[in-house]
């Protein structure tokens, strides 16, 4: 019963969240450009979607058609599968896995594959470069997230997302390990190909992996990116912001509010910070951010041992 309710909630939240995320992204771009966000930005994603669906789908010369078709669909699959372990209220979850964050980690890893295949499938140079380049940054970014997720699992003594949420009844992980939250948000940008971590669909490749995608194929890819963004925001809210815990309001309402805050932060970060050339980012990830995640783990470990 709760699984069925969870499924309905999952897809409902994903659909509404993707729409909201697209609108927030436009608002953030407007703010970065010094314009005032307008109410029309709520309609803009639908207008864009209509353009995509009315447009012809172009097949490039000798493409890998199967992977081209599967890449956006599998991206969406990974977003849904990753979000299915996130509880919206006690017991209101699609799958209360004992190893929830392991499943999430698997979804992160496969996202790298899916984005690569999207770049690969067109048999065109700009998408191909985007696909290969993304792998270089996607891999270490994934390591970051696993370290901070394990640090979040330490106080809960469990790999289940529900248990991690329960362990935050008194103190949120965002308070206990703030650098972990920041590192996880960076991973969110990387998983959804956004802003400073957009090495796949970047402007210096005229759109990168989606430079050759037109019409419905482009619509599916953008929807999948937004769905993954919603999935990331749900995971962030659950693991770092106390999930459904909060006074006065019912649990799911808190969860949704926190997700919206995370979406807004990610949208703002997308348009605020410059993207480093990939070699520079690779060095930064391995020599600064990864050791920082070790440090988070050590500090949380020490704190948990002293606390109990």
């Amino acid at each position: 019963m709760s699984a069925a309710a969870g499924l309905a909630l999952l897809f409902g939240v994903m659909a509404v969240g993707a729409w909201l995320a697209a609108a927030l992204d436009r608002a953030a771009l407007a703010l970065a450009a010094g314009r005032r966000p307008a109410a029309a930005m709520l309609v803009a994603p639908w207008r864009q979607g209509a353009i995509h669906l009315l447009r012809q789908r172009i097949r490039t010369e000798r493409p890998d058609a199967m992977n081209g078709l599967l890449a956006p669909a599998c991206y969406l699959l990974l977003a849904a599968a990753g979000m299915s372990v996130v509880p919206f209220a006690p017991g209101l979850v699609v799958a209360d896995l004992d190893a929830g964050i392991v499943l999430w980690g698997a979804c992160e890893a496969l996202t790298v594959v899916v984005v690569f295949l999207h770049g690969w499938s067109a048999n065109a140079p700009l998408p191909l470069i985007g696909g290969y380049r993304y792998v270089a940054i996607g891999l270490p970014a994934m390591l970051l997230s696993m370290f901070v997720l394990i640090a979040a699992a330490l106080p809960a003594q469990s790999l289940s997302v529900s248990a991690i949420v329960e362990s935050q009844a008194s103190v949120w992980n965002a308070v206990r390990q703030p650098p972990g939250l920041v590192l996880f948000l960076m991973l969110g940008l990387s998983l959804t190909l956004r802003g400073p971590f957009d090495y796949a669909d970047a402007a210096d490749l005229a759109g990168g992996t989606s430079a050759e995608a037109s019409g419905p194929a482009q619509a599916a890819w953008q929807v999948a990116r937004l769905a993954m963004l919603v999935s990331v925001s749900a995971m962030t809210a659950a693991v770092f912001l106390g999930g459904y815990h909060g006074p006065w309001l019912p649990g799911p309402a808190w969860m949704l509010l926190k997700m919206i805050v995370v979406l807004a932060v990610l949208a703002a970060a997308t348009h605020m910070f410059a993207r480093l050339p990939p070699a520079r980012m690779l060095t930064l990830l391995w020599t600064l951010l990864l050791p920082l995640s070790f440090l988070v783990l050590a500090l949380v470990g020490a704190e948990v041992l002293l606390w109990s």
């Binding site: 803009a44 669906l53 447009r55 012809q56 380049r133 402007a203 430079a211 348009h271």
Partner: protein
């Protein structure tokens, strides 16, 4: 029914335009990018209108035809500040320089009142595929011949680590929006590192486009800062008529906060004793009113690019005032065929 609803929705969206910029057309396109009724696209696959703005060299006409055919249906062409190139469909939309005109064409196209333009090039594969050889590729061995009408990239020495993997030759431009308009680059790349570069034709002259704020605005999108770039373009636009000192304080703070200076590797794109970071700093100082000039120097763009990684190379190619870039493309071994 659903189609009608969708086309009504689409028609109310900003017009998706792919700009092909010719001589002295850059300023008009940059002004157009600030208009809310238009959204400029980086790839023709995401656009419905091909906007040709400024006079096009005769040598670039085949490229324009190729580009036209790469737009998905429904599509239309607009001509600004130039006569339609012969061979294109009857010039139904020679617009004046107004975003409203673009929008009107887009509305008619989206609702079906304006028919989609047909291909200009013949519908035939680039080369006949003969289907011979061990793997049906039409040649000898594993990688010879022309599989499906095109050859494969072949191995070559690498300038960074000496591994002999495939060298891919990309003929970029003249209408690639990540390069200055008109610039053709023939890059041989291994992976995403540039092995050698050639400049078959220089960029188009752009009179009065050397405003430092505009120069910064052309660099920022490559760093993922499209919003900030728009702010710079608007500031440049705004200070032309009244000549009063614009409020650059907030703009400077946003630029520093974005980390753009940190993102650019030190020492990248050194030319005339000034690397890319220094150029960006100089542009900013010029915008604030400092009486600085680009240091004099002779060189060749084709010599600046080899050895760089792709995104670094694109940054370097966009880091010169149009006038200086013209000079960099004229001299040296890069000056081959083309215009």
């Amino acid at each position: 029914m659903a189609v009608t609803g969708a086309s009504w929705l689409a028609a109310s969206a900003p017009a998706p335009v792919y700009p092909a910029v010719g001589a002295d057309g850059l300023a008009a396109v940059e002004a157009l990018s600030l208009h809310p009724a238009v959204s400029l696209q980086a790839s023709p696959r995401h656009a419905s209108l091909l906007l040709v703005c400024g006079r096009i060299r005769e040598a670039d006409r085949p490229a324009l035809r190729r580009l036209h055919d790469q737009l998905p249906h429904p599509r239309a062409t607009l001509w600004w500040r130039t006569e339609p190139v012969p061979g294109f469909p009857a010039a139904s939309c020679v617009g004046d320089d107004r975003a409203d005109a673009v929008r009107a064409v887009w509305r008619r196209l989206a609702t079906g009142a304006l028919g989609s333009e047909a291909d200009l090039l013949p519908d035939e594969p680039p080369a006949p595929w003969r289907g011979k050889g061990d793997h049906g590729q039409g040649g000898e061995g594993m990688t010879g011949g022309k599989p499906y009408g095109r050859p494969m990239a072949m191995t070559d020495e690498d300038c960074r680590d000496g591994l002999a993997l495939d060298a891919y030759t990309a003929r970029l431009g003249p209408f690639l929006p990540i390069l200055p308009p008109g610039l053709r680059l023939e890059l041989t790349i291994q992976g995403d590192a540039i092995q050698s570069a050639r400049v078959p034709s220089p960029p188009y002259p752009q009179a009065g486009s050397d405003d430092p704020l505009r120069c910064i605005a052309r660099l920022l999108p490559l760093l993922g800062l499209a919003g900030l770039a728009e702010r710079f373009r608007r500031a440049a636009q705004g200070r032309a008529p009244d000549l009063g000192a614009p409020d650059l304080g907030a703009l400077g703070r946003a630029l520093r906060r974005s980390g753009a200076l940190y993102a650019i590797p030190p020492g990248l794109g050194g030319f005339a004793g000034e690397d890319l970071r220094a150029r960006l700093r100089r542009w900013w100082a010029q915008a604030e009113g400092a009486d600085l000039r680009a240091p004099p120097g002779e060189g060749c763009l084709a010599d600046l690019l080899p050895g760089l990684e792709w995104s670094e190379a694109m940054l370097v190619a966009n880091s010169f005032e149009p006038e200086i870039l013209m000079r960099l493309c004229r001299a040296g071994p890069g000056d081959g065929d083309g215009s």
